[in-house]
């Protein structure tokens, strides 16, 4: 991977482009080599003239050490599979830059301090660079900072493309280098190196003056901090006092779906409606299947009539987040009696699900492979048999109304299906008939005359249940 820095001195400039050597503290006539923990860095100047000077900073990452080194812990075993990290620019380049041109980054120049303090016309080429999210992300990150860019894809492999990225800007060199230090790993959005609290300090130190006003600061914080929720929250808190609470809550995996549905705050509406249906039926014990991070549970425990909520989710990590959000660790006995979280699966039966007044499946069934739905039907409606079951799922008919949604696609990468209103009604009717429940199907969200509401809900009531 390499970084090329080209300094231009248009005719009539009061400096020479060849002063780039002074700015970098490197003699343009030599090859400068240095071993760093990240690999060997070579710096040379393929072009040096009055009008234009170019420095190449090439990082030769040692691929064997990369796997055997400390990174093993932060990435787990995936790091041991072949990947582009030794070759495409990422956090390793950032760290190496700090090592070999640290003085330049902090804005110092022994012999040309006045140039170091000035905005100068630069062209920066980073290649190859892995970009998760493609051109849109490059645009989102660099345009607000005043960069013009040109990005050429080196392969056409979709989500994680490798680019040859050209940036031009007139700015102080130290400022440019600090942008790159923070943003190159953000482009890459994988794994690395920023993992503990000390790293927040580093991020803030390099981004302190420009990051708080960057429109993509959430994305930057989230990616740079490797999706570690609490760290992201802390960093955002320190960057700005006024954080939209809802934004803070969204998990990275949901952003696609949330983004689509955001204008109508559909998820809040869904959860409120489900809560109201449970309260209206007088249910006192609730089984929240696929409870996720506990948003419905949080609504339910505020209600006096609710005696017990059992939240079930297949992911240990999600349940840990839910426990933290619900403050279960520091909760008193009474609250802990009322709320329990349990690892479970919707395609297995579970004896611990017996005896609940109500069960909820809010935007859950569409994450189950259609052939496996039969197991859920059997375990919930046939075996656990709660007095009522509330199921909500997207209405596929409505998808045409979402802007930016390609025809035939689904709202979320893990959705295994999305049903039209007819398909949902057919399913609900069959399940209810097989297991002795009555159905009441309702639209969820503002209704369109032709395509219905964005989501749909069915309240199943067990026959003979009060």
């Amino acid at each position: 991977m390499q970084l090329e820095l080209t300094l231009y001195a248009p005719e009539g400039s009061d400096y020479a482009a060849s002063d780039l050597g002074f700015l970098l503290h490197k003699h343009p006539g030599h090859l400068h080599e240095r071993d760093t923990a990240q690999g060997k860095v070579s710096i040379f100047f393929p072009k040096v003239s009055e009008a234009e000077a170019r420095a190449v900073i090439y990082l030769d990452v040692d691929p064997v050490a990369l796997v055997r080194g400390k990174n093993e812990q932060s990435d787990g075993l995936l790091a041991q599979y072949v990947n582009d990290r030794p070759y495409a620019a990422n956090s390793l380049l950032s760290v190496a830059l700090g090592r070999v041109i640290g003085q330049t980054m902090s804005g110092k120049s022994k012999d040309r301090q006045s140039l170091a303090d000035r905005a100068l016309p630069f062209r920066i080429r980073i290649a190859p660079v892995a970009v998760s999210g493609g051109i849109d992300v490059i645009e989102e990150l660099f345009s607000p900072l005043g960069y013009e860019f040109d990005a050429k894809t080196l392969d056409d492999t979709g989500r994680r493309a490798v680019f040859d990225l050209d940036l031009t800007i007139t700015a102080r060199l130290s400022k440019i280098l600090n942008h790159l230090y923070v943003l190159v790993p953000v482009l890459d959005n994988a794994k690395h190196y920023w993992i503990d609290k000390a790293e927040i300090e580093k991020l803030l130190a390099k981004g302190g003056d420009w990051l708080p006003s960057h429109p993509a600061k959430e994305l930057i914080a989230r990616r740079a901090l490797k999706h570690r929720r609490s760290l992201v929250e802390q960093a955002l808190e320190r960057l700005s006092e006024t954080i939209d609470e809802e934004v803070e809550e969204e998990s990275a995996a949901d952003t696609g779906e949330e983004k689509l549905e955001k204008p109508i705050r559909l998820h809040d509406l869904r959860l409120d409606t489900v809560r109201d249906a449970i309260l209206a039926a007088g249910a006192r014990t609730v089984l929240d299947l696929g409870c996720g991070e506990g948003k419905l549970i949080r609504r339910l425990i505020r209600e006096r009539g609710i005696e017990r909520v059992l939240g079930v989710d297949p992911s240990v990590r999600t349940l840990e987040t839910a426990a933290r959000r619900l403050h279960l660790d520091e909760a008193g006995d009474r609250l802990r009696e009322r709320v329990q979280l349990q690892l479970g699966s919707l395609t297995y039966g579970d004896r611990r699900w017996q005896g609940f007044d109500a069960a909820t499946l809010v935007e859950v069934i569409e994450h189950i492979d259609p052939p496996r739905l039969a197991a859920l039907e059997l375990s919930l409606f046939g075996d656990a048999r709660p007095g009522m079951v509330v199921v909500s799922t997207p209405n596929r008919d409505y998808n045409v109304l979402f802007e930016g949604m390609a025809p035939g696609t689904l709202r979320h990468g893990d959705h295994r299906f999305e049903w039209t209103r007819t398909e949902f009604a057919n399913w609900a009717g069959r399940v209810a008939a097989t297991h002795g429940y009555a159905t009441d199907i309702r639209p969820l969200g503002p209704e369109d005359a032709t395509h219905g509401a964005p989501s749909q809900m069915c309240v199943f009531t067990r026959e003979g249940a009060a």
Binding site: M1, Q2, E4, G29, H30, L31, E33, S42, F44, F45, P46, K47, V56, Y58, D60, P63, V64, R68, L77, Q80, Y81, V82, N83, D84, P86, Y87, A88, A127, P128, A130, L154, D155, T157, G158, R159, R160, V162, D164, P314, S315, V316, L343, G344, S345, L346, T347, Y348, G349, D350, R351, R352, H367, D369, P371, R372, A374, A375, L378, G382, D383
Partner: protein, 849 residues
């Protein structure tokens, strides 16, 4: 005095302080069998005389004793237990775990007790204490039987205490020493003709029939014995004859019988008690009324002696009339007796006026096969290791026997319907009872640390966090567990080549096996695609019958982690159909006498399944590696001649060449697969067919048989293979040359396997297979520049032992699960193995091996 107590019981010592209970206990019992209130007091309070701690101490005592009893361990309670209230709790504890409570009373003169206490530290209380104890004790002495103690032994003086001898004997129901073999026979209900036909069919020699009251008998020439599950009489036509034959066989020792509810009721009538003559008892009463008093007495004595249940064959078999829960096996209590005779009911009554039964068999998780009768069903069907063999003979069904340990049923149809059932017999759903039950597995059966015994030897442990990870993956991605009868084990990589440009070479695999004494090796081409497990049945009906699924598929194809191989169900169905036709053409359905097969195969192209991986990982790597080298070269071209740039350039050229080589290797494994004709499927094991796991056949059989299969369809690809002796120089040379040619032309590598599928060495199993991968292929694994001298020398230091151990454990688990499927074990036990393999896969082992 000599007494004999059951070897599983709760022994309660009763006596005042100072009566010598503790010394008595130490003399007759193991220290670990004794739970003492003083010791418990010390544990909770540091002071064994602290009366204020008694409440907590007794809680600990009950807990400790309860755990021991749950584990079926004889337990002795060393406390005064002079108060009826204290004893009542202990009797209750014994009942909870179905242990017989035994009272051993040390009724010693309280003054003597006091005298003894004087000589002991911490016992300096007044004489009134022992006196009060003694008074309380003597008040309760006579009521001990009534309190529920099954044996009461009272010692009235120190001399009697000293003279007591205790022996232990097994419980009446503990017949674990009796290994059979047995022919377990269902409810007879007076169906004498069917009974004699059944015994004849089972190979018994019957005495010629003689009318009258004399006992009849029969015996098996090979010493097999009949085991009757009870309900000999009532409803049917020849009740007395049935009694004569069963009693005769039991007397001779060629038969045994446990007590049924009808037998129990008959014995009450025989003892002159007032019983309603319903449910067919009237017929038996009519017959017996015509018999002699002596015969009726003989019948009454016979029934009195019947066991509630029999715990047999080292604990692997239980025979009980109405079945028995696992926690009751080989135990004794009124509850056990009642369950064994009547089953457990909820107290409710159904629309036919019959008690609603708890479906204990659905919840059964015990080790023993439980064979029972009592509830008539159409077919005798296994469910979770239990089998009801009451097939309603007297209602016009059939009389059924189970040969055990063979687990084969034998039936004789009823000559006619002798009685009208109160409700129609249950008709099944088309699935077996087990399949019906197996539609749903239970999360709470798996969400903890798992210990799985494997028949190839050794227990495999799955830590809880691995089990949970496997459950999550399984529930989010896997196919229906009813198809998922096997997950393949990981395969060991060969020991590392010590030097040169190769990381792996055939010599190391050859040496590995040669030094372990394996002289018969099969070497097979390793295809580069994706692992595919193919379940294929003759047709959808055959698949439904064997796998219990209801989706109308003739089979499935799944990956090594249990995901559906194809997202497109129609494509999957088409591929399965093609393979099924090929199996038919090759004659394998008939040759293997089966309706279904499980094939282990590699499915190509790699790009068919690995598209995402290629897109997100391999293509970007090649592109980045190549570009990284190329733009450096470009910059170097533009640069002046500076010292040191030449070597930088040489290095960049090598990098570029390596990146291109990696790209070419990948391209060789990818092609567009837009139609079914574009796929290539290379099967290399026929893992299982009806009734058998085919790992008992050597690999050359698999390869030869599969060659005929592959000839039947062009989408099936034959695998090149050779059978060699790893110690023969000529064989070695030939195989090394073949490997070099194959991998030099882009082949992934080869797999070396002992020809015998399962080989045991001195220290357990010998690795069942070992891969030796080609130099170019390994670029995909270790990165484009792995074979640069400075890299390869470091890469040689790779630890293989964890991988070997993982391969070994997964292999044993895989075969265990498959064997259980073939034996038609409950899906819960088959799934346990598949989950186990998946759980082990989350262990931190270098994934490049």
């Amino acid at each position: 005095m000599k007494i004999s107590i059951p070897d599983f019981s709760l022994v309660v010592l009763i006596g005042p302080t100072g009566s010598g209970k503790s010394s008595f206990a130490r003399k007759h019992f193991l220290e670990t069998e004794i739970v003492s209130s003083d010791a418990c007091r010390a544990v909770v309070s540091d002071d064994e005389t602290d009366q204020a701690a008694s409440g907590d101490a007794f809680e600990l005592l009950r807990l400790t004793a309860g755990i021991r009893l749950r584990r079926r361990k004889l337990t002795v309670i060393d406390a005064t237990s002079v108060q009826p209230r204290d004893r009542a709790e202990l009797v209750q504890l014994a009942r909870q775990y179905h242990a017989l409570p035994i009272a051993l009373v040390l009724n010693i003169d309280p003054d003597l007790c006091h005298e003894r206490n004087q000589g002991r530290a911490n016992r300096d209380f007044g004489p009134h204490v022992a006196r009060n104890h003694s008074k309380a004790l003597r008040r309760g002495l006579r009521g001990l039987q009534k309190e529920g103690f099954r044996q009461v032994h009272i010692m009235n003086a120190p001399a009697e205490v000293d003279a007591l001898e205790i022996t232990r004997e097994p419980l009446w129901t503990d017949l674990r020493h009796d290994e059979g073999p047995f022919d377990i026979i269902g409810d007879i209900h007076g169906c004498f003709d069917e009974l004699t036909d059944l015994l004849t069919r089972l190979g018994y020699d019957l005495d010629p029939y003689a009318p009258g009251e004399s006992l009849l008998s029969a015996r098996h020439p090979e010493g097999r014995r009949a085991y009757f599950v009870g309900d000999i009489t009532d409803r049917g036509p020849r009740n007395v004859d049935c009694l004569r034959l069963v009693m005769g066989m039991c007397a001779e020792g060629s038969g045994h019988c446990v007590m049924g509810n009808h037998d129990f009721k008959l014995s009450k009538w025989l003892k002159g008690r007032d019983v309603k003559q319903t449910h067919g008892l009237d017929r038996t009463v009519a017959e017996l009324s015509a018999c002699s008093e002596a015969f009726r007495k003989e019948v009454s004595d016979f029934i009195y002696d019947l066991r509630s249940h029999a715990w047999l064959a080292g604990g692997r078999l239980v025979v009980a009339h109405a079945g028995l829960k696992a926690e009751m096996h080989g135990r004794g209590s009124a509850a056990v007796r009642s369950f064994a005779m009547f089953g457990e009911t909820t107290g409710e009554v159904d629309e036919f006026g019959l008690p609603v039964r708890l479906e204990w068999a659905r919840e059964y998780r015990g080790e023993a096969d439980v064979v029972y009768g009592h509830t008539p069903t159409i077919e005798a069907e296994w469910l979770n290791g239990t089998l009801c063999i009451d097939t309603g003979c007297v209602f016009g069904g059939k009389l059924t026997a189970l040969r055990w340990p063979e687990r084969e049923t034998v039936s004789i149809p009823a000559a006619r319907q002798y009685s009208e059932p109160a409700k129609p017999l249950d008709h099944g759903s088309g699935r077996t009872a087990q399949q019906d039950h197996d539609r749903l597995l239970y999360f709470d059966d798996y969400a903890r640390k798992q210990r799985i015994e494997t028949r190839l030897g050794g227990t495999v442990m799955i830590p809880e966090e691995n089990a949970l990870a496997a459950l999550e993956v399984m529930s989010r991605f896997a196919v229906d567990p009813r198809w998922l009868i096997y997950l393949p084990p990981t395969m060991a990589a060969c020991p590392t080549a010590p030097e040169g440009p190769f990381l792996e070479r055939p010599e190391q695999a050859l040496d590995f096996y040669a030094t372990r004494g394996v002289t018969d090796l099969v070497v097979e081409e390793k295809h580069m695609g994706s692992r595919a497990l193919i379940v294929v049945a003759r047709d959808a009906d055959a698949a439904a019958a064997r796998f219990g699924t209801e989706v109308g598929k003739a089979g499935v194809i799944y990956t090594r982690t249990g995901r559906a191989f194809f997202n497109d169900e129609a494509l999957e169905a088409a591929v399965v159909a093609r393979i099924g036709q090929a199996v038919g053409k090759a004659g394998l359905w008939d040759q293997l006498e089966t309706d279904w097969l499980l094939l282990d195969a590699e499915l190509m192209p790699w790009s068919a399944k690995a598209q995402e991986l290629l897109r997100k990982q391999y293509y970007p790597t090649v592109a980045a590696a190549r570009t990284s080298a190329e733009i450096l070269i470009e910059a170097l071209d533009a640069a002046q001649d500076i010292e040191g740039l030449e070597s930088l350039r040489a290095r960049a050229e090598t990098r570029r060449a390596n990146a291109l080589a990696m790209g070419r290797t990948i391209e060789g494994y990818c092609w567009d697969a837009s139609s079914i004709e574009d796929y290539r499927i290379a099967p290399f094991h026929i893992l299982a067919a009806e009734g058998r796991v085919l790992t008992d056949r050597p690999h050359d059989w698999h390869m030869e048989t599969l060659a005929t299969l592959c000839a039947a369809d062009p989408i099936l690809r034959t695998t090149g293979w050779r059978r060699i002796d790893p110690s023969s120089e000529a064989d070695r040379k030939a195989v090394i040359d073949w490997w070099l040619d194959h991998t030099g032309a882009g082949g992934e590598g080869m797999v070396f396997k002992p020809n015998t599928f399962v080989v045991k060495g001195e220290k357990g199993l010998i690795q069942p297979a070992m891969k030796v991968r080609g130099r170019d292929y390994l670029r995909i694994i270790y990165g484009p520049d792995y074979d640069l001298p400075e890299n390869i020398e470091r890469l040689r230091k790779r630890g293989l032992m964890r991988k070997f151990s993982l391969a070994d454990r997964e292999f044993r688990l895989g075969l265990e699960g498959l064997s259980r499927f073939v034996e038609r074990k409950p899906l819960r036990q088959i799934h346990e193995c598949a989950l186990g393999v998946l759980g082990l896969e989350s262990e931190p082992v270098d994934p490049r091996l």
